[in-house]
Amino acid sequence: MLTASLLRRPAPGGVANGVAKPQLTSLVDMLTILLVFLLKSFSVEGNLVAAADDLQLPESISAERPSPALNVEITTSGVNIDGRQVVPLQRVVAADSLLIDELRGALHGIALATGIEDRENEVVIQCDRRLDFSVIKKVMFTCAQASFSDFSLLVLREE
């Protein structure tokens, strides 16, 4: 008797003419919340500078937006220019000289190719937060020698 009445009871979503209608209210609620969150974090411009993948950037209070410039990335594996590895990190650490020949060659090539070798050019340095200043110092010195002496450091903005 009880089983028969349960079987006759319509399903939670409702059964009309033998067609099941799923209850969508909670799904619509969830999607509405998601939509509001995504609209809040919507950015028309996006990020003009993308951080390298194997990099942990430090956080900073700086709110200055990055402008498009040459990216020199100092990761735990090596020094890259716009994502292409130029020299492994071990070689930079082991070098006694401040000048990194491979990096200077690559930067000089870029400056010559784009005709900007006579100017003070901008470079955005992306550096892993765990690396020490001895590495950064060598990279900065080499960049300055290759006419890239207007430095900016890329950081994650603290919210």
Partner: protein, 166 residues
């Protein structure tokens, strides 16, 4: 007349949300692709000018220097060490540095601070130090390599200069 039968009331309750769902399904992937979850910014900094003229600058016009060594932060102007803040549990004490900078008073509009850094200092600590200086009102922050702190010749307002701000 006009009173809804139970069957009509049930029909009114079930709103067709399929068009709304279709809109969500189009809109959400688009917004996910355009959303920015981590905001990047840059820190502009200057390199110290080449002081090759050989003339001795007025100590009052010399920029403030924050020396970051393996075991402490030292605040100096010219050759005079104003204060030293030792590490706490192996970490730089930037709150104490902020307090010391605050005690120096508000900086002039064009005031400059140079952070002189030893080789072993981590990049994250350098950025924290730059932030501390900026929060203290020093908009023009420069970086320099090497501290060359000579403790034997240091002078300061207190005994040895190191305890003046503790």
């Amino acid at each position: 007349m006009g009173l809804a039968t139970p069957s009509r009331a049930a029909a009114v309750e079930s709103v067709d949300v399929t068009p709304v769902m279709n809109m969500f399904i189009i809109l959400i992937p688009f917004l996910v692709s355009m959303a920015v979850f981590s905001h990047l910014s840059v820190i502009e900094f200057t390199l110290p000018p080449d002081g090759g003229t050989g003339r001795i600058a007025d100590p009052e016009t010399l920029p403030l220097t924050v020396a970051m060594t393996d075991d402490e932060l030292a605040l100096a102007r010219g050759e005079t060490i104003l204060a030293a803040v030792e590490k706490v549990d192996g970490l730089f004490d930037f709150a104490a540095l902020a307090a010391v900078l605050g005690r120096l008073g508000p900086p002039a509009a064009e005031a400059r601070v140079v952070i002189a850094i030893d080789d072993a200092v981590l990049f994250a600590d350098i950025v924290d130090c730059m932030d501390t200086c900026r929060l203290a009102g020093y908009a023009d922050v420069g970086l320099a390599a090497g501290t060359n702190l000579d403790r034997t010749g240091e002078t300061g307002p207190g005994p040895g200069g190191r305890d003046a701000d503790r």
